[in-house]
């Protein structure tokens, strides 16, 4: 459990009552007593209401994930969205660092995700010991995948759903992900080309099928 001094227990941004509700929800599916998951909230400030937009930046807040958690997230991300067709793996585009930025942020959505992600990682570590009698870092990709499948099969797979959201969203908003999805744009044009003949041919055929 994190003991980073940047944490404080009664952040005005998040009432303790709500925190305990999340913990109870997390504990309900992970089998971990809520008090074990006593996750403090982050006291860091956000980027403010007037950041310098033209200067590339990531969140200025302190990151909270440990090295082992970053490694585990990278491995899980590559299982969720494995490399195919020559497109890079999430671990190659800094997905764990992005998730660290996200769950370390002091905003409500990210604070909620922090609870879910940290509780989920803790639950997976516990299940690794129960099922394989070794730390999760020692598991093979196959065993880790099986463990991930268990998380997916939970009645309320909140951890998996939020992790997938972060992996898929983070991947396709990376420069490599934008290229992988085939986005066309981001460059100035003298005129807008409209529908190209190649697209038009498919579109017309489809519209005809619908009587349009």
């Amino acid at each position: 459990m994190q003991t980073d001094p940047s944490f404080e227990h009664d952040s005005p941004r998040l009432s303790r009552r709500i925190t305990l509700q999340w913990l109870a929800a997390a504990a309900a599916w992970s089998g971990i007593p809520a008090e074990v998951l006593a996750l403090p909230t982050v006291s860091a400030h956000g980027y403010g209401t007037d950041p310098v937009l033209v200067k590339p930046s990531t969140g200025p807040w302190r990151r909270i994930l440990s090295r082992s958690q970053l490694v585990l997230l990278s491995r899980l991300a590559d299982l969720i969205l494995p490399p195919e067709n020559g497109e890079p793996a999430p671990s190659r585009v800094g997905i764990a660092e992005f998730i660290d930025e996200w769950v370390s942020a002091p905003y409500p959505t990210q604070t909620a995700d922090r609870s879910i992600v940290l509780a989920g990682l803790a639950a997976m570590e516990r299940r690794a010991m129960q099922r394989y009698h070794q730390p999760i870092s020692a598991l093979s990709a196959t065993d880790l995948g099986a463990l991930l499948d268990v998380m997916v099969a939970q009645p309320q797979p909140e951890f998996f759903l939020r992790l997938r959201y972060l992996v898929v969203g983070g991947y396709y908003t990376s420069d490599a992900g934008i290229q992988a999805i085939g986005f066309i744009g981001g460059v100035a044009l003298p005129s807008y080309p409209g529908v190209t003949p190649e697209v038009q041919a498919v579109l017309e055929a489809e519209l005809q099928k619908l009587g349009l």
Binding site: L53, I80, G145, V152, T173, G182, F183, G186
Partner: protein
């Protein structure tokens, strides 16, 4: 500042204030503009080509930047630190979007620039609801022509009912439709609903030193080449070039100062950074702080002559507040999965829209709501955002091999429909001053009262039914926004950020606060030239009309000033 250093004080720098300052300085008047926020320079501050990876949290919205990191809103959003507002007990929810920057909301607005039509000025005469305007479309049309020429608006002449075309040569040529817009156009036409080229405040040929659209990036970030309309790029530079404009930023005006003669002698403001109070004088005052802020200033301007606020002798200040009716639906479209990759960027906003088509049905009483709406379509293979993560919910493969292919198929296969409809002014929607809550400088804050009527709720239900019908035409599946109960489907008050009214214009002081030029009946050297003066709020997004009315009012002010008739 010496007494009467300025001919006119203009409060606010957005559509109304920017246009007023532009017109007044061109007419040779010395103008002091007071803006509540900081100075803002789009040429150097716009993140034109920044990618998601170059922003915290990939640019997702946060309480600090609710519409996303790159959105051209500074120090604002639904909340402004230290400047609260309240919603009265028992009222429905109301939201109020404010920035604190030069140019106001013109920096991030949607750039949909629609003229009101002839019917819109005579709505009470047509169906007995609301009020008529004190002017006709014909009286405002020349000002629309001038405004569109200055602003730069795309469009084509379609000859549609109550959707006026512009004179030849005024409109900029709109970019051709995107693939999903071609599909939508065919489906609407199969339903007998005409589709029009978008009227967008985006120039497609260079004018006045401004660059033409680059057909990339989001207009909501602003535009460093000034291809879209912002007060800061289109109105204020030429006003400054006259040498007649002085701009004071960080000046939060809270009161019109009334002299013993009952005339406005200036305004008082608080310096937002230092908390110091100041009063400035001029021969004429123009309020253009935004509809709710202008009404608040009038209500807070109390004196022995105006114990309930300036211009409020008949209790009309703050009354008849309106917003636009909004609903949305999102659909997945299998046909679009089959199209090759394409450039769907274009001019950021939709290249088509659907003007209201039901005037004749309403005249025949075939619809259960009296006023119309238009539809703004969305979609395309745009720059990915974090919503890609949500798209995984649509994949039959939860994770592992094959998920990429599913996401690749879904990319650009979703479309959206936003309905934007007319609200009829009613007695339940208004603002007054909260009796206890004050801002950080001790000034009473607005308290909102809100309730949609059945006219708007039935209209919202019709929007949703129309969306579902057209989605079925092109073989789509609605995935969000399927509820057809109008009470549930309708937006929250203020959520469309089209709040207008509160200081409405009319034919006499008994039915209005200002005349058709925005001139206060009670204080003849006080003008209001923002959305507050609109007596009704047609479906057509209000910014173009605010600009045209502000220009007309400011020109009238200058004429009176030259004749010493103010």
């Amino acid at each position: 500042m010496a007494k009467d250093d300025f001919d006119v004080i203009v409060v606010g720098s957005g559509a109304g204030g920017g246009m007023a300052a532009h017109s007044l300085t061109q007419d040779g008047l010395r103008v002091l503009m007071l803006e509540a926020g900081r100075d803002y320079q789009p040429a150097t501050e716009t993140p034109m080509f920044n990618r998601p990876s170059q922003a915290p949290l990939r640019g997702e919205g946060t309480p600090d930047k609710p519409f996303g990191y790159f959105d051209a809103t500074i120090d604002g959003g639904w909340e402004v630190h230290g400047e609260p507002y309240t919603v009265a007990p028992g009222s429905d929810e109301f939201k109020w979007w404010r920035p604190r920057m030069l140019g106001g909301r013109t920096n991030h607005w949607g750039r949909i620039a629609l003229r009101f039509g002839p019917y819109d000025f005579q709505s009470r005469s047509r169906d007995g609801l609301g009020v008529d305007w004190p002017i006709s479309y014909e009286e405002l049309a020349p000002w629309y022509d001038r405004t569109e020429t200055l602003v730069g608006v795309t469009g084509l002449a379609h000859g549609l009912e109550n959707t006026p075309d512009s004179p030849p040569g005024v409109h900029h040529v709109p970019p051709p439709p995107r693939a999903h817009e071609v599909m939508m156009t065919r489906a609407f036409k199969a339903m007998g609903i005409p589709v029009a080229a978008m009227r967008g405040a985006v120039i497609t040929r260079p004018i006045d030193g401004r660059g033409a659209c680059l057909y990339t990036t989001d207009c909501g970030r602003g535009c460093s080449v000034a291809a879209n309309f912002q007060s800061t790029t289109v109105l204020l530079p030429p006003a400054r070039a006259t040498g007649q404009l002085t701009i004071r930023t960080q000046a939060v005006v809270y009161q019109v100062d009334i002299g013993p003669d009952g005339r406005a002698r200036g305004v008082s403001f608080v310096d937002r950074l230092h908390g110091t109070h100041h009063s400035v004088r001029a021969r004429t005052v123009v309020l253009a702080a935004g509809a709710c802020a202008s009404a608040r200033i009038l209500l807070n301007s109390r004196s022995p002559r105006f114990p309930d606020g300036v211009g409020n002798d008949h209790g009309l200040v703050g009354r008849y507040l309106m917003d636009t009716v909004g609903t949305s639906t999102v659909a997945h479209v299998p046909m679009l999965e089959k199209l090759p990759r394409r450039n769907d960027e274009g001019m950021s906003l939709s290249h088509i829209y659907v003007p209201w088509w039901g005037y004749q049905q309403q005249a025949r009483k075939e619809l259960d709501f009296p006023r119309g709406y238009h539809i703004e379509p969305g979609g395309g293979q745009r720059m990915p955002g974090m919503s890609f993560g949500d798209m995984a919910m649509m994949s039959p493969i939860s994770h592992g091999p094959g998920l990429r292919a599913e996401l690749g198929r879904k990319y650009g296969a979703f479309v959206s429909f936003d309905g934007r409809g007319e609200m009829i002014p009613n007695d339940d929607c208004f603002l007054d001053l909260d009796p206890t809550v004050k801002d950080r400088w001790g000034i009473p804050v607005p308290r909102f009262h809100w309730k949609w009527s059945q006219h708007e709720e039935r209209q919202a239900a019709h929007m949703r039914r129309t969306f579902l019908e057209v989605i079925e035409k092109f073989g789509g599946t609605p995935v969000w926004g399927t509820e057809t109960d109008g009470k549930t489907a309708i937006s929250k008050g203020g959520e469309m950020i089209h709040e207008v009214g509160g200081v409405r214009m009319g034919r006499s002081e008994k039915d209005s606060v200002v005349d058709s030029y925005g001139r206060a009946w009670a204080v003849r050297n006080l003008f209001v030239l923002d959305g507050a003066i609109l007596p009704t709020n047609p479906d057509k997004n209000p910014t173009l009309s605010i600009l045209a009315l502000a220009w007309r009012g400011a020109a009238h002010l200058a004429k009176l000033a030259k004749r010493s008739e103010l």
